[in-house]
Amino acid sequence: MTEEKRCPACGKPTAGYVPCPHCGADPRNSITLKFAAVICVIILGFGAVFYLAYLTTSEAAPTAISSIDSWIDYSYVWVNGVVSSGPNYGSGVASFEIYDNSAERLEDATLPVEYYDPVDNTVPTVGDQIMAFGQLRAPVGGDKELRISFPSDIQLTRAEPVATTISDIMSTWDTSDPLSSPWIFKRVTLTGTVTGVRPLSSAKIYTLTDGVSDIELYVHNGRETLENRSLGLNVLDVVTVTSGLSQYSGSPQLVLASFDELQVVSSENAPEVEIQSVNENMIDNVVRVGGKILFVETKGSGSDLEFSERVLSLDNIYNPNVSVSEDLLDLMSDNDKALVKRGTTIELVGDVQRYGSSVRVAWVGPQSPTLTSGSYEPPSVDNFLAITSDNLNELVTITGSVTAESEISVGWLPSHWLLTLQDNLGGSVSVYLPNFLYERMESPPAVGDTIEVVGKVTSISGHSLVVQPGVIDDVQRLS
């Protein structure tokens, strides 16, 4: 230990002191590159073991849907199951659901899926077995969903369809326990007759029957956009459809994935019946009726200003009416819809229904009725005093000046209006304008206006005799 002893770290003389008074290095505690090399070897050993693990494990481990909860929000998972609903198409996205039997309750084992920029042959349909990978969203208090971004993240085993009948499905279905059905989430082929359609905002639900039982067929509107055509079904078409069987609110529902999977085999003809011959014996029968539209009466929903249905009087006001729901009317083209008016001759298929103490024919969709334009004006009444209770339900044309107007309050909705119309002879009659017509008029009639009204003589609460127009065009301002 001489004065010339130098620090092995900084090289300065230490006079023998340790640690080095210059740099603090303590040569009693040191490691060498060998120490690092040993660590490297151990690390490489781990690397080799893990590489072996990589070579020997390849299966993806799916996550049970029932175990998904907000604590794994945003993580990426595999989900394995059967497609239980969909696909529904939006803008650049296809939505469906996967069921994996990981819980007793259907809702707990079902996961909605959003598949972005879908590639057609990778879009699953109900009944397909699917192994899908994507990002999970499961926000606290929010809805769970899986988001798939790449077609390669979907592994599909397409289901083979099995032939069956509507009766077979319905006879084995338990609404309180849909999962017990042998057909749930299976792909089936069956034949049925179209007996109706219920349009929704994003889809149409057709009713198919095999004469014994009925079943619903769900067709998402996005399919029309995708295929750039409509399904073109008509009531009484006999169709063969291959689709998956899903459920909605416990009831079975066929889900059509592609228009190519539905073929119209034939079309039944409804028996032609004179409208005036429609009677109670025909209730629940589908018939073909026709006639000239004498009057179109619009009915409101009562809870808002929307129309709920139109009631058509054909050939004679005493004939059974034809009712058509507004959403069925909306299925028609604008041109055809405009033709459903007074004077048009119409031929349509309808379902005979009881209506109070009488019967009426309910328009069943989907159909394109035969429409021939025409005109009709009910007889004109110049002396309003001649309109009495004996004229109830008759159609009249009246022209007069509005001498008074009053509102009939209906709670939070806009009021109905009652106009007093005076003829040239001083007689007057009340004209009832329901709010769903009044609010649609560009310039409703006011006191002093001379108007012509085509309407039905009827009574309303508090007023035994009023004339009620059917549609907006039944009221014309003359001056």
């Binding site: 002191y17 340790v18 210059h22 907000s70």
Partner: protein
Amino acid sequence: MRGLTHFIMGITVATFFKSLVTGAILTDSWLILLGGVFGLLPDTLDFKFLVYVEKQDVVIDPDPYDVKPQEIANKIADEITKVGTMKPGEMRRLQMHTMKLGPDLWQSYSIYFNKAKSQVEVKVGPHATTSGIPAFGTEPPADKALGVAKFTPKLVDTHGRATEVKGFGGPSFGFLKKKDGTVEVVFIPFHRRSGHSLTMGIVCALLGYLVSQSWVVFGVIIAGWTMHIVLDTFGHMGNNLFWPITKQRTSGLYLVSASNPYWNAFTVYSCIAIILWNMNLYNASVSPAYTIPGISALGPAIYLFFVVAIPWAIVGAMYYWYKQKTKGARPFELFAPTTGAVGMAATDSAGVQEQEHYYEIDEKPKPSIILRILGVAILAAIFVVLFIFGPSW
């Protein structure tokens, strides 16, 4: 203990309060942090406020370019002698200042209270960096290296070794006249007094209650504060528990060393384990998605046994083996003469850790075993109370 240990211990006791944990989840309440804030607050008060408002009876502020160790020693010895003539309970405070030569260069000096010879020894060392590396060749000449001054009364010094003065602010000493006529050296007398009393904790808790009108807030403040006091009592320097009724610091229980990294790490790890236990337990009342029933089903005792006791038994065994292996080894081995300024500089070089077992002090207090057991029992009792009653708070 280190600040983080206190803070996390405060958070730990706060997580026993079910309403605080569920409130944090459901309403993003931050009240749970009060445990941590008030768990650390005693040291915050001491080192951010009380240190600056401490009374300074005498100030030692040497000239770094002309250090006179004899003058320093004389001044200190005079103070000790003066205190010896005062009434019991009275204290004189001495502030030592550092001598800065540059941004990272200090003129080091040390003070040693030599009880055996009743003298103060002030040694001037070489220039040194903040981390203690001396600048070789800057030792003072022999006539300016040492100052020795005698004092009269019998001195009690529980620190037992020289105090280095370099880097940032210097330490303060209190010289306390005791009833038996001796004078005790109190290191940094401002520390662990009013700011570390249970009475101050109660005051803070009452203030918290007044502001929030919530007994839970009162409870979490007092719990966090109390745990700080308890942990500090486990060390060497005690607390003034009932200030202003009691005047002086008690001695600690000498169960742990506050700066010992293993005790700190152990405490932090155990706290995290307990926090996770409480989270898992109380998350269940918000959503089953956030809880693992299997862990709660174990019960706290088994959980702590497997998660805390076993790992730390292994680490403790390794630590004990290491300590046995390095027992007796001094941090510095001197291969050169120990006399002269150079030798003194080498002896007193800084950058030393974990030295306490190298110096055996005759007068090092040894609290009775009963007191030590009582201390541990109090800590255990606090946790038992928290485990039992926490779910209802």
